[in-house]
């Protein structure tokens, strides 16, 4: 079990993503980095950031920080409060419905990302493959 969010969780997540053939197929034409932003809330007292360098169905680099400026500016940011991340990882929230109901926010070019909804969903599904403790 690895704690979310943490450097250990990010490394485990990267390994799971890189072994996920469904993600690889869905994201085979994807190029661009994404940052998961975990906002502080009543259950978690600070913001946290997970930077993912994604390229053609693989994650080339994944890093964790409590400071966003530690990373290059990503093409996309997927952000939400810690409690919603916990629900997402526990599969209590669908990642796309989470956006449509305002539980998460996505910043970046909508034109591009709407062609990769399957890859986006699979990225989030992969979070559930990590044995996570909160």
């Amino acid at each position: 079990m690895v704690k979310f969010p943490s450097e250990e969780w990010v490394k485990e997540y990267m390994a799971k993503l890189n072994s996920n053939a469904v993600y690889e197929d869905a994201a085979k034409n994807w190029e661009g980095a994404m940052t998961f932003v975990v906002h502080k809330d009543a259950a978690f007292d600070r913001d946290a950031f997970i930077y993912l360098d994604l390229y053609h169905g693989k994650c080339r680099d994944a890093r964790f920080s409590l400071t966003e400026s530690d990373f290059p500016v990503p093409e996309y940011k997927y952000s939400g409060p810690y409690t919603n991340w916990r629900r997402l990882i526990n599969k209590e929230i669908d990642p796309i419905q989470g956006l449509l109901t305002g539980k998460f926010k996505l910043q970046g070019s909508m034109m591009k990302v709407m062609r990769f909804t399957k890859a986006a969903k699979e990225m989030v599904n992969t979070t559930a493959m990590v044995q996570t403790e909160f």
């Binding site: 197929d25 869905a26 419905q97 449509l100 109901t101 909508m110 062609r115 990769f116 399957k118 969903k121």
Partner: protein, 379 residues
Amino acid sequence: MWFFRSPEIVFGEDSLSYVSSLEIRKAALITDRNLLGTDLPEQVRRALPQGAESIVIGDISEEPPLSEMTAHLDQIRKFEPDWFVGVGGGSVMDTAKILFCLYERPDLSVYDITPLVKLGLRKKCRLLAVPTTSGTGSECTWAAVLSIEGEHRKHELASPEILPDCAILDPALVTTLPLEQTRNTASDALAHTVEAYGSAWRNPFSDAFAEKSMELVSQNIMGVIKDSGNVELRNRVHMGASMAGLAFSNSQIGLVHALGHAFGARFKTPHGKAVALFLPHVVEFNYDACPERYDKLNRIVPAEYRGVRLSDSLENILKAMGQARSGKEAGIGESEFLSNLDSLVSMASESTGMVTNPKDSGSADLRNLFVQAYEAEAS
């Protein structure tokens, strides 16, 4: 947490007269080239409130590219309408939705029409939908399909803010719909029903509309094909098609539309004809993901067309309607199909229908479904 969204729906005989009670001062009527030669746009114009001004944008073609959709935007801006009125089928409705958005927000790109962008519409005007076909359901949905010249791709746009304010379902406006369009649009309605009912985002509201739309469409479409001027039968199919639109708009499409959009964009196949090719094959592919649901829909199909499985029944209905049952039968040459297969798979895999289909699928599944639908033998 989820939503149910719908326009105000006015239905039944003489429902067009309701338009006169709307507070319309200046209407931009959007219609298509075929309808411009008929009395239908004029009927709608006559139904506007007394004293209302109007302009008619009437050169929209079937599944128009963006440049054609927006060719008259400057003219519309000078006219300053307070209502857009779409009079026609799905292409016209989608054009009206896109023009409505770009008129209100000239600073936006069409690609901003996603549920993730706050558009802030309805500061200047509203949107009225008067369908003259029974099947696309666009009058009741927050989706629009967009083609770009030279791309051979259909972009799926969606925003709750482009949902029409009001939809008029007057059966008198569909009694002259030609047989080919009757067949194609009804096939689309069946696809909406089935996709909504199996969708990963299905919900009790979308279920209710899907069940009723299956009843209204499947039990009356053959009567319409045999007796096209029968207003009561037309009315039932017309309402059923809009209910199918409400069903999928509130639960989303699936693989039938992912495949159909790709196929239609590549081969210029009319949308309803394209989805009809894939519907039974996708249902069979999905069956083990939602057998009880498909069996329940199957029990609604009239006994004379009902097979053991929903996929059999849909095949029977589509065949009885005279719909092409394979890509070959639809006139697509084998070498043309095979040379485009990779790009078809790639395009379909980018559809939002990939994430809401009841069963997960990958590129290999899409390829198999394309091949199955292309090579299907008419039985």
